[in-house]
């Protein structure tokens, strides 16, 4: 049962921004509602106004950027659309692979990428996969638009860098270099994952060794994060070796800021991060070689 509220349907980002400024803490952005409405049912928030961003023109867009170097994903694009879009499947297969694994078919049908990122539920899939792509978020606010790297947008559990008078309009996901291959793996016992791992490998022109490795881990700590030390340790690694198993994988999660909770102890989470980094590397290496 939800508390009473009013719904507002801005048709432009500017209107939405104005509504945010007007309602302050009494207002909340609403897209798919798959997280917000559950929290409100529990009695959190008590928002008197929901600002439905799905009515804003262009927010459901999913297009190749004019320069052909990135895919622009509107904030109101659903997980289901990401999962099935030919553009995403072809150009960002790792994102499609991640989207396919979000919650269940019903949540994917209504939940949006923008809503997911803004809600910043720590046990969530999308940030991890987007981090290895170097995604940037585009925000519209009273004082204009700004773009920032997703890593800077993710602040903490349920906290993002979204300002009180801003909305997220879209996410730009740069296309990975040609030949790159990736993998998204998740693991856990509960409805939400204990660990999510995304790996994007860029092989050299012979498809023999790595030119670049990008590795991110989500769910184990307050926010999803890249693992720069792991990435640099992987420099020059041979794909065939990775496919057989990277010996250092077991320690890949050691430095993670892991949180103990019902999903597992911090120790276990760090260990599982390592296990799944290893498995994702092997899978991505196999994909990169073929």
């Amino acid at each position: 049962m939800l508390p009473p509220f009013e719904i507002h349907q801005p048709v432009t980002a500017a209107e939405a921004v104005a509504l945010r400024a007007r309602f302050g803490e009494a207002g909340a952005l609403y897209a798919g509602g798959s997280e917000l409405l559950l929290a409100m049912k529990e009695g959190l928030g008590g928002f008197a106004h929901l600002i439905d961003v799905k009515t804003i023109a262009g927010l459901a867009g999913l297009t190749l950027a004019p320069d052909g170097r990135a895919v622009t994903i509107g904030a109101a694009v659903t997980h289901r659309t990401l999962e099935r879009s030919p553009l995403v499947r072809e150009r960002l297969p790792l994102v499609a692979e991640m989207a396919r694994q979000v919650a269940n078919a019903r949540v994917r049908a209504v939940g949006t990428l923008g809503g997911n990122l803004c809600f910043a539920e720590p046990h969530s899939d999308p940030p991890t996969a987007l981090l290895v792509h170097g995604a940037r978020v585009a925000l519209a606010g009273a004082s204009g638009a700004r773009r920032l790297p997703l890593a800077d947008f993710l602040v903490g559990p349920y906290e993002s860098a979204l300002g009180p008078d801003e909305i997220l309009t879209h996410v730009d996901v740069p296309l990975p270099p040609a030949r790159a291959a990736g993998a998204y793996l998740k693991f856990g016992m509960h409805e939400r994952p204990t660990v999510g791992v995304a790996v994007l490998l860029v092989p050299d022109e012979h498809r023999a060794a790595l030119a670049e490795a990008r590795v991110a881990v989500g769910c184990v700590g307050p926010v999803a994060t890249r693992l720069p030390a792991v990435e640099s340790a992987l420099a020059g690694a041979r794909l065939a070796d990775l496919e057989a198993g990277w010996p250092d994988a077991a320690r890949a999660g050691e430095a993670l800021d892991a949180v103990s909770d019902l999903h597992g102890s911090a120790d276990y989470k760090r260990a599982m991060a390592g296990v799944f980094v290893g498995r994702a590397l092997a899978l991505a290496a196999r994909r990169a070689r073929s």
């Binding site: 049962m1 508390p3 009695g43 693991f187 016992m189 509960h190 409805e191 939400r192 019902l262 597992g264 102890s265 276990y268 260990a271 599982m272 296990v275």
Partner: protein, 756 residues
Amino acid sequence: MSQPGPLREIGHSVERKDGVAKVTGRAQYLDDLVISGAVYAAIVRSPYAHARILSVERAAAAAVPGVVAALAAADLGALGERPFGTFLKDQRVLARDKARYEGEPVAVVVAEDPATAARAASLVDVAYEPLPPVIDVVRAREPGATLVHDTPPALGRQGRWPTVPGTNVCARVAIEQGDVEQGFRDADVVLERTYTFPRVFHYTLEPHGAVASATPDELTVWTNTGHPYQLRQELADMFELDLARIRIVVPYVGGSFGGKSFPKLEPLAAVLSATVGRPVKVLNGVEGSMRINRRHGARVTLRVGARRDGTLTAKHARVLLDGGAYADLGPVVTEKTSVRLLGPYRVPHYSIQVENVYTTTTPAGAFRSIGGPQSVWATESIMDELAAALDMDPVELRLHNLVSRGESVRPGLRPMDADLGDDLKRLGKAMDEAHAPEAAGRGVAVGISNPAELPISTAIVRLHYDGSATVLCSMVEVGQGLHTVLAQIVAEELSVPRAAVVVVSPDTRVGPYDWSSGASRGVTIVGTAVQRAAQDVRAQLLALAAEVAGVPAAEVAWRDGAVHVGERRVAPAQVIREWYGRPAGEVIGRGYVRNLGRDPAFWEIGMGGAEIAVDRDTGVIQLLSYTGLADVGRAINPQLCEQQDVGAIVMGLGHTLFEEMAYSESGSLLNPSMIEYRVPLVTDLPATLHAVLVENGDGAGPYGAKGMGEGGNLAVAPAIANALARATGVRIRDLPLTPERVWTALREAAARPARP
């Protein structure tokens, strides 16, 4: 009565009677009923596990437009004072002086619509003085522990086990035989181990609820209970009304597994209705239901002794059951646990003591084989540990000790009525057929239980003049398929088309008495009552046909599904029409059951075997195949039997691998939602899942049937833990076997120096 000719209906997997209603969404459950004039209750629950209630400020809630009343215990008059409880009268509809678990109802708001009730409920301001929580069952039992109940509650109507004053012991049962210390002196090997079983939640898809309408001289309750007649008694006591003035109506029920037995929300709904003078609906969500009932957690310390050849000599058990804040069925669970701990083995000397202990957590009650999975988890784990200590094959050890048919399990109880050794060998063969080549370990477990508590039931079969029949009985169709099986029995006995048999859902104003819906008793006990009622119809038809024909009774007979008067064949319905002289009337048959020989009415046998692989990196147990075996005497509807067993096995995977109600040290339930409380999903099924039915026609029920449906739950956890031990050498004695628990155990084992 003789049974000429082959059975036409029995033994066939006929379509379920409730099928079309359920696949079309037309089946009506409690929340689907429209009770005109009903108002809605929202419950204000204690946020503390244990706290004195200092004041309940309800004026602000009462002032909300649309609110009918905002009530605390003090507003309910004598009804608020009156304790209820079938075994111990320790519970009241709203907590009065103190709250004994997080989530206990403390106040309630009744309003014209549910949204108003919920919003106003948030305005009720209760002042508490927190008291020390009692969360750990071991600490709860220590001398000087904080008491959950300060004064000993009185026994309920069915109560036999008093509390132990000055302690948190809600019920204690001890059984023994022989001289257990002598038994241990006779042993070559003695093992002592402690096993624990978590607190788990039924999660019936349909949450608890009730709608009550009380007038000064009558009380009607629509509810999703499994126990309409137990409930009637409880409410009759509370309201001081004759049984006949209480009407319990049960629509379709969305699962029970024991969780909807005995009074739950019904007393509250009834008292509220009496207080506000309107029908009142109380409906829980999942979280509310997690605050109503769960399975007993258990801590079982077992000591067993055996000779070198494997012969068991002694068993000693000390068990603490975590009963939560109120007794509910706890005392009976305590008693059943004591017997279920004996296991299916010949043990000359034993001493078993089970204590059900109050804690400040959700009350524990009935859940699919009460005390069964907890007992079998311990007894069947230690059998494998013993086999390892004796360097014996675990199956051989079991075969060596299993009681034979006719042998006593415990003096006074029905001797074993199954061939356990044959069953276990059949299980082994079936497991061989299901063998997964990649399996790293295989484990088996044998469970027996003494179900069918109190074989008391009555039934009415009305044969109408058009040949259709109405069956009245009061066991609840909770999904087990009972109505289908009863229709098969009546169709068989009266040779009427099954489609022409209607089984009526319970309504105590109409349907006759039945003890309960639980304990695997449906087919054996209610089935017998219905069979007898149908046979009574047949006997009456013969008498009527003789009267119509004016011939002696000896000249009429039932043959090939019809009445024969000499050589004339008369259809049953025609007998009725001829006797009444026109198309009118009916014949009413009655069936009574008060006992079926010895107690239990049958032994329920649930065996199982698992093959697993283990992901050593993550600790994930991969269940590759699971084979269950149920000795059902006779499967009246094999498909339903298999599905009961498969359902019970998969439910057992829950407490084996994932399920646990997690409490914080201060007594907060940390996972009161299906986001965090993990039950088995379709992706958890093993590639191979079989249920073997053994049919020896040796049950006390109709056509030799025995009950089933609980037994499949028994063997799952020990079979999987035994397989894990064989696959990895690691023995885990605490459930659930979560990946982290397995991973931790594997790491600890790897870190230990190898045994010299």
